[in-house]
Amino acid sequence: MNIESSERDLVIVGGGPAGLAAALAAKKQGIDDILIIERNDELGGILNQCIHNGFGIHIFGEELTGPEYAERYVRLVKEQNIDCLTGTMVLEMNAERELVAVGPDCGLLRIRAKAVILAMGCRERTRPAINIPGDRPAGVFTAGTIQQLINLEGYLPGRTALILGSGDIGLIMARRLTLEGVKVQGVVEIMSYPGGLNRNIAQCLRDFDIPLHLSHTVVRIHGKQRVEGATVAPVDARRAPIMEKSFFVPCDTIVLSVGLIPENELSRMAGVRLSSTTSGAYVDENLQTSVDGVFACGNVLHVHDVVDFVTRESEKAGRSAARFIKHGLVRCDLPVRPGKNVRYVVPHVVSGNADVEFFLRASRPMAPATLKIHPDLREVRQRIVKPSEMISVRLPADLIATARSQGEIRFELEERESTR
């Protein structure tokens, strides 16, 4: 079989906010031969179905909807004449940065790239759905599927809904369903704190008097053909359901908003080392993965709260890829480790030769807390710390270099006595 073969300076897998920002940043650094490969029929990624406002405050200084944020970047990419293949899926990739893609316009395509940026984003977690006992009727959806049905296709999935999990998309869909006339019976969250941002608790639940059941879970789904309801129970300290206190909630739709997982099949195929805490690639301060010339950014690297941070991170990946193409990059060797009460820190390894912005997540809510960066590099007081809110800290190169003697940098969160 004849496969068209080509060479490119930079191939970007994914045309969502991460891929678009990375492409523009690389172009700005003088890389002209760029190809963005997008599986969907249009660029913009998940932003196209996120029709609510709240995007762009950090980048544009105004509140945009998802489609508006996406269109601004798509326009810039088109103005810069950056090549894009839509409706095209990358099927294979190896450590020599050879990719195989297939699409209606290009057919089967083999590309060898000087650098690759992984910007595939993430997908929704559905596993817990399988673990819910009870029947298997129609009417159980992930929040993102509901979002796609309503916002892109114009279908209403049901009349009465119960939402399991309090991630941001679930909260936003609670409001969206309510505005569209669906009765939302409540949001059920197994943890003792919400998974989504504070402001979404306010503007998506409280605005519409939608109950939030913290420390509760769905223990059974009822219904033969279609969902007829769910049994909800409070959970004890070990998250085991207290069945004596369970109650029935009638509904025809169950919405799952139980987390996101970076989509790393291609990364694995190419032998990219993955982190067990982020489920994304293990990267250095240049966002280079363990495979030379392969970079990762956006939600495929770690799941972000706001798209503005995805954009900034991806611009960095684009600049790094440009440097790699032009004169190569030196590998880093100073590991960064999460300590007490810290779930993860990105990047995972640094050099001490450049300033680095670190992103980290707490493993539990604390108020107030102190972020301690060892070996005694810095202490930052935090009024409130929540797993749902990413923390960022910028450290100068000379300070990072002083950690060399200890052989690692460790981030710890310590709870302080409340002053209130």
Binding site: I51, L179, A202, E389
Partner: protein
């Protein structure tokens, strides 16, 4: 004399979502605590006196590449008008093509706020 009233709010001006304690006296906001930036004070006052939200939804589009067009109110409208706004927009249809930022309805429900297109949609085919 009106007694002071303490209200707990969450600021929705940005993703930080500061928890605010607001003291209301005689219908006026006299003190705001818990805000990390001045937006919190603006938000607290507006939320007590005249709560507003940006309404985002979709409308049907005829002859477009996609069946639904995302739209929004350019500025926030009174919270009490959200349901009425949804009702009005559910009956609204627009013809392709549409450009991002196009004004679809001006002075929506007498609020003085326009409804605009949140994206561009070209004609099908």
């Amino acid at each position: 004399m009106t007694a002071a009233d303490e209200r707990e709010l969450i600021c929705i001006s940005c993703p930080v979502g500061c928890p605010l304690s607001v003291t209301v006296e005689g219908g006026e906001v006299v003190a705001v605590r818990g805000n990390k930036c001045p937006k919190g004070i603006t938000y607290a006052k507006a939320e007590i006196l005249d709560p507003r939200r940006i309404l985002t939804t979709t409308v049907r589009i005829r002859g477009g590449l996609l069946p639904q067009l995302p739209v929004r109110t350019r500025q926030a409208i009174p919270k009490s008008l959200l349901a009425k706004g949804m009702e009005a927009l559910s009956r609204y249809e627009v013809d392709a093509p549409v450009r991002i930022g196009d004004v679809l309805i001006s002075d929506f429900l007498g609020t003085g706020v326009d409804v605009i297109a949140s994206r561009s949609i070209d004609c099908a085919g």
